[in-house]
């Protein structure tokens, strides 16, 4: 049934694609926040929320690669060091970059 998409659905997908740029900014904000707060529990929790949301919606819109990466990064958040968390988030930002 997903073969033939209605113009409305296509419009939604278009809208989502365009919103990806915004989402990169959000991720970058998170990176800055984590660095600033030295990866304290609060900043990590917030990053987690953002990723959680992104994982859900990106999957729904067919961006399986983003979905997968988000889930992976979520599991690595707060893992060992600030750098690890930042690196992980940078990976997503890079991935999103190609959809800009």
């Amino acid at each position: 049934m997903t073969d033939i998409e209605s113009p409305q659905i296509q419009a939604l997908k278009q809208r989502y694609r365009e919103s990806l740029a915004e989402k990169i900014e959000l991720i970058e904000q998170q990176i800055n926040l984590i660095v600033a707060a030295e990866a304290d529990a609060g900043s990590l929790e917030e990053a987690h929320q953002v990723l959680h949301k992104l994982a859900g919606s990106s999957g729904m819109y067919g961006y399986n690669d983003i979905n997968l990466l988000c889930r992976k990064v979520m599991s690595g958040l707060g893992g060992s060091s600030v750098d690890d968390s930042v690196n992980a988030l940078n990976q997503i930002a890079e991935l999103l970059e190609q959809y800009r």
Partner: protein, 517 residues
Amino acid sequence: MEERRLQQQINEQLFKKLQLAYFCVDKSMRVTCFSKNLRNYGYDSVLVGAEIEEHVDFMIGLDAQTELDLPMVESPSGTPVAVSLLPSSGELTVLISDASGHAEQRQLLQQKANENELLLEQQHKLMGQLSLASKELESKNQQLEEASRLQTSFISGVSHEFRTPLTSIIGYTNLVKEDLLLVSESEPEVKASAQQNSEHLRAVQRSSKHLLSLVENLLDHGKLDSNEIFIRPKSTDLAELFDDVALLLKPLSDSKNIEFKLDIELTNSFMAVMDDSRLRQCLINLVGNAIKFTDQGSVTLTARLADESLTISVADTGLGISPENLKKIRLPFWQAADTGKAGTGLGLTITERIIELMGGDLDISSELGKGTCVSFEVPAPMLLETPIGECSTVSGSKVLLAEDDADIADLVAMMMSEAGVDVTHVENGALAIEALRDQPFDLVLMDINMPVMTGYEALEKLQESKNKTPVVILSASSIEADRAKAESLGCFDYLVKPVDIGDIFQIMNRVVDQESL
């Protein structure tokens, strides 16, 4: 004098005939006369003129005036005798006769009577002790019940604690594996090492899954008592399910060098409406058991799907079960002591209960040394694939969508309304509760992670207010513990994002099916 001698002779003759012995004593208890046959009874030292007390024990303490019958006295010869003391004019005549015939009979009768009475007494005493013991047992029983209740809640508690980290181990292993696949595609030179890593990961995953199934058995045992195990049928690909079970258990049978045979016939359609995870749990338990108790030969899993009914049997060539153990085997925690196999002893109890809940009966037949066959038959209704969109049940139904992410909400709402569903969208749990108070809905689609009020809280509120509207959770979390939490709060189903809109429609069909029952 002459007369007296004559008299004595006559007496002697008479007494002989009657087998009587006798002696006479005077006032001072000295012997005046006696019969010769007195010796036959062992009184052989009696002499005329002697003091009787010195020679005949039973005369001690008696005087010449005593008139007495001693019906049965053991004489020195061992023969029981009857003794009569007959005083006359200052003298005492003592008659002694054989009483052995009589004694034997009485001995038998008396012995019987006494033994009977002793038995009765003992019975009486035992009854008293029994009633005491039963009272004691009763209070013990109460203590045990209490202990068992504590044990159950302890087990549930501990299992929960175990389950969460375990599921995340499995989940993360999955993610790493997916990651490895990506790597191996992009960089051919690391392919080999990546492949080996993923082998290792698979091993980790298998062990974790096995551990998880043990923990789930424990957890289910707690639920058994409180009737908390539910069967949630959904469309199930049986072919895939059997493949899964085989994949999971093959390494186990390989490691024991026994053959694991699959004999599956599913006819044309293999999509059935069943609780796939419960069925999987049963199969893993049964096949796992069979492998555990088989040291050589094979384990065969047979499945037949026909007439909307699934027949499964698991046969092994293992140790077998003795008839008396066959009675105990279904008890929780029971383990054959002599086999030395480890486990929780819960698998079979839980499996039996689940099969019961699915509408079947677990049948176990076994022969010691030959092997065991466990089988059951459960209803397996075929899935009727209705083309979505034309589906009359979906079109026209009212759905409440609680989702804070606008991207997702808009997409889901759009797709559903294109299928003719009347969708109302709210942004959090609190608003969903409000909407449900205002008007009826056929179904609620609910996110977990929402501001103001989460999906969990909303589910709780709905349970409290006895609102029966089916709630389907749309969650980004594939972690089993989250699913379990939602299920314990009474959700109708749990879908992991990205959600396939077709799954939602299928669930809606099921809701309608259940309501029309």
